[in-house]
């Protein structure tokens, strides 16, 4: 058997990934290229004609106050969620890891909302934040306080949406941290105790450095999840009032299907993609260097 024939026989195994590759090329890579192409046009989303407009869409992004709102909101949704999901997730994990009777029941319930669609969760929360008859206003009423229109104001609405996202998905960080904590040998703590270390000292010097890999995973996952936030916003405000609570994701779909600015929407999409890649890349790099030091 000649050498080329042998390599050919050996690489026949590669045929196995061809279907997957073709599917991704056709329905991800090609649309991706298409989106880049459309971002340089003034296409409205349905007509047969379009004109190349160069960087006009990207330039007008700089002067779009609604986009600035969506961008700032997205950063809040992303970083706010990631920060609190990790703090809560770690606290929950430490709490449940202290092993008391029934700790697994608590874990079951904290993880439960992860099973529910963000959209439906948003609608359920509507029962709480609704102005007339909402549960929060009912509780305010018990104390004689005036009812509040929770979703009418930008910052309040953005904070409520972020809080729902944190609450719903803190369970993911929690189970990742629980796995991380369980992988730390208890002998480390025993040795530290003999050396006279207290609980806090043990946490800073043993737990925290050793769960850095778990933290890296959880932080990046939550960041990407928060920066892509779409479902909850659509359920609770649809991006409103006005454009006040849009994320980049909801703004993209708004510009494409409502404002019929498909070219502009494509440009915003490409920018969103770059933002997420940049943020994920920076954080992966930060954690990679930290792990080397630890």
């Amino acid at each position: 058997m000649s050498k080329t024939l042998r390599t050919l026989r050996k690489s026949r195994i590669n045929l196995f990934y061809v279907p997957a590759l073709v599917l991704m090329l056709l329905f991800v890579a090609y649309p991706f290229a298409q989106a880049i192409h459309l971002s340089f046009t003034n296409w409205n989303g349905y007509s047969q004609t379009m004109h190349a407009v160069g960087f006009a869409n990207y330039v007008s992004m700089l002067h779009d106050p609604n986009l600035r709102t969506a961008f700032i909101n997205t950063l809040i949704y992303g970083f706010g969620s990631a920060f609190f999901q990790n703090v809560l997730g770690l606290l929950f994990a430490l709490f449940l890891n202290s092993r008391f009777r029934g700790h697994s029941i608590v874990r079951t319930f904290i993880y439960l909302p992860v099973m529910i669609s963000g959209l439906i969760m948003g609608y359920i929360i509507y029962y709480f934040v609704q102005y007339d008859g909402g549960i929060f206003n009912e509780i305010l009423g018990w104390f004689g306080a005036a009812p509040v229109d929770f979703m009418a104001q930008r910052w309040r609405a953005v904070l409520i949406i972020t809080a729902i996202n944190i609450w719903q998905y803190a369970g993911i960080s929690m189970v990742i941290y629980m796995a991380g904590l369980q992988s730390i040998p208890t002998t480390y703590y025993e040795a530290a105790r003999i050396d006279g270390a207290g609980t806090l000292r043990c946490f800073w010097s043993i737990t925290l450095p050793l769960i850095t890999p778990a933290m890296a995973t959880a932080v990046v996952m939550n960041l990407i999840g928060g920066l892509k936030l779409f479902d909850v916003i659509m359920a609770l405000t649809g991006g409103g009032p006005g454009f006040a609570t849009n994320s980049l994701s909801t703004y993209i779909s708004n510009q494409y299907f409502n404002a019929q600015r498909a070219g502009y929407s494509a440009a915003v999409g490409i920018a969103t993609f770059l933002l997420i890649v940049l943020v994920a890349g920076i954080f992966n790099h930060l954690f990679a260097t930290r792990e080397l030091e630890a």
């Binding site: 590669n14 997957a20 991800v28 649309p31 992860v114 669609s117 959209l119 359920i124 359920a235 494409y256």
Partner: protein
């Protein structure tokens, strides 16, 4: 495992546990509560119904769109996950066993796809589907979802196959198996736990999918659960929040029940797929 006894010093843990469980159950409690009250019941949303009112559910099933949505969602979820598992296993095998430079490049490309947030290239995907006449078709929805969902299973399966000792492949080859036979008789049987993880994670993901369904499936007869639910809550649903709650129950209960029975696998799957290998 040692037997744990009730310890009075742990009392704060039980208090905190109860608080956490209440906070985490509240929305589901309210959903169930609303679903079992009649529209005319103006009692507090926090107080339980005096008697279980099944009218909301009866009306939903009579009207029928929730049943159709259940079937549509099931069809889309099953086929998407099936494609992801079959193509994912196939793709992972050469990527794990034949580590040429070219294959490393292919691997990098697939991981790059994982970074693309589906909605950011909505315009490109939608216009591609329009030119294929695939909007408002199940296959369009399935194939787009599968394409975006594939990198994760491929990554996960590749990692998994790498942990299967190569000597098993070689032993089978000596016994006269060809590559295909090695794959089906040696590799595939061992991949059951990895496949179960992907079925669970991607299955839940598809069941709850909204972003793409909203744009691809524009015919009401093709609506999935999330789309149908949003109909109940937005258009005129605001008048019948009790009916909407019943619809939300029907949409979420299958996942919740499955989770309660198989929670170990759900949680382990999340951890396994998240922790970097």
């Amino acid at each position: 495992m040692q037997h744990r006894r009730f310890n009075p010093r742990n009392i704060w843990k039980y208090v905190l546990s109860v608080v956490l469980v209440v906070i985490y159950c509240m929305p589901l409690y309210v959903m169930l509560n609303m679903a079992f009250k009649s529209m005319t019941d103006s009692s507090s949303r926090l107080s339980p119904p005096k008697e279980l009112f099944w009218g909301n559910f009866a009306q939903l099933f009579q009207e029928g769109s929730i049943v159709r949505a259940l079937i549509n969602t099931l069809v889309i979820t099953v086929f998407t996950v099936l494609i992801e598992v079959v193509l994912g296993c196939m793709a992972a095998y050469p990527l794990a066993r034949h580590r040429s430079r070219f294959n490393k490049l292919i691997n990098a490309v697939m991981m790059g796809v994982m970074m693309i947030p589906p909605l950011s290239i909505l315009v490109g995907v939608y216009s591609t589907l329009v030119s294929l006449h695939a909007t408002s078709t199940f296959w369009g929805m399935i194939i787009v979802s599968a394409a975006f969902g594939l990198p994760m299973p491929i990554y996960f399966f590749t990692k998994f196959i790498t942990t299967i000792p190569r000597s098993l492949d070689e032993a089978a080859q000596i016994d006269g198996c060809n590559t295909l036979q090695v794959f089906f008789h040696v590799i595939l049987p061992q991949m059951k736990p990895a496949i179960a993880t992907i079925v669970i994670l991607n299955g839940v993901g598809m069941w709850n999918e909204y972003g793409y369904a909203l744009y691809i499936l524009q015919k009401p007869s093709m609506y999935t659960l999330t789309l149908t639910i949003s109909q109940y809550f937005s258009s005129g649903g605001a008048n019948n929040l009790n009916g909407a709650a019943a619809a939300a129950c029907i949409a979420t209960l299958p996942m919740i029940i499955m989770y309660l029975f198989l929670q170990r696998y759900f949680i382990q799957g999340t951890v396994d797929s998240a922790v970097k290998g």
